[in-house]
Symmetry: C2
Amino acid sequence: MTFNTEEAPGVHTDVPSETEGFVFNHTMVRIVDPEASLAFYSKVFGMRLLRKVDMPEGEFTLYFLACTGNDDVPEDKDARAKYVNGREGVLELTHNWGTEKDPQASYHNGNDEPQGYGHICFTVPDLQAACEWMDANDVAFKKRPEDGRMSHIAFVLDPDGYWIELVGRK
Amino acid sequence: MTFNTEEAPGVHTDVPSETEGFVFNHTMVRIVDPEASLAFYSKVFGMRLLRKVDMPEGEFTLYFLACTGNDDVPEDKDARAKYVNGREGVLELTHNWGTEKDPQASYHNGNDEPQGYGHICFTVPDLQAACEWMDANDVAFKKRPEDGRMSHIAFVLDPDGYWIELVGRK
């Protein structure tokens, strides 16, 4: 197997054996209202809620979701946790208890100042159809395909205002 | 196939057909110095740089990396772009040209105020071995396994100060 990679300053051209089996498992963002976010990600993006971890000592709950496609997801809770830990493409939503009742609560999206984090992205089979689906669910757009130069991508906003990119597979 | 999911307010228990084929493809963060970040992610986490997209009009470059394991990654550039777009677990690093020469340049990690984005996480075969590998590469720890209550996880910092969680598969 060759190491098919772009070349750029800094890039190692061999995978160190010490990193064998490393899996880029999940991305975590904080959310104000779990009911709104779970409805959004499970309906609009078809993600399954695969794990829910209550942490009463810290007064927060973690929700782990993924697009599971045709995967045979284990029913058993422990087996499901292993499945979630072992796969890529997991979204972790952190809910600090009580924020959903605080009208002042909000999180920083990373694109307003101070910048850092940018977005998550979903590849979709058909960008136009996906945008119609977003509209049917009253999802707010940051950028429609026809806005600006890049017609092959769109950006929508999740309930907390985090940016989500949509890229068509075609 | 049953829809194996946790129950929680807001969660849809069916995957809408409109979301079929949706893939949680990537997570984007901005980086100050591509050479430092590419060295870090390609060496310390064994990620391959699979795509590099220069955008001279906007004066930025996008770098797409993933842990490709035993995947047969296409050599051909277009085929490789399709491969990258179709998979989960991609990390996109955005470099705005010139930041690497600006000693004041820095990005917000999302965990200091104002909070929002939290971290990315890698599942590793053996947490202890992974931590030794981090130490061998002089990676800064935010939390070692023995710090605090949760001995099954660690947090390290990437070159921009973004948090990276490590979870052992065992």
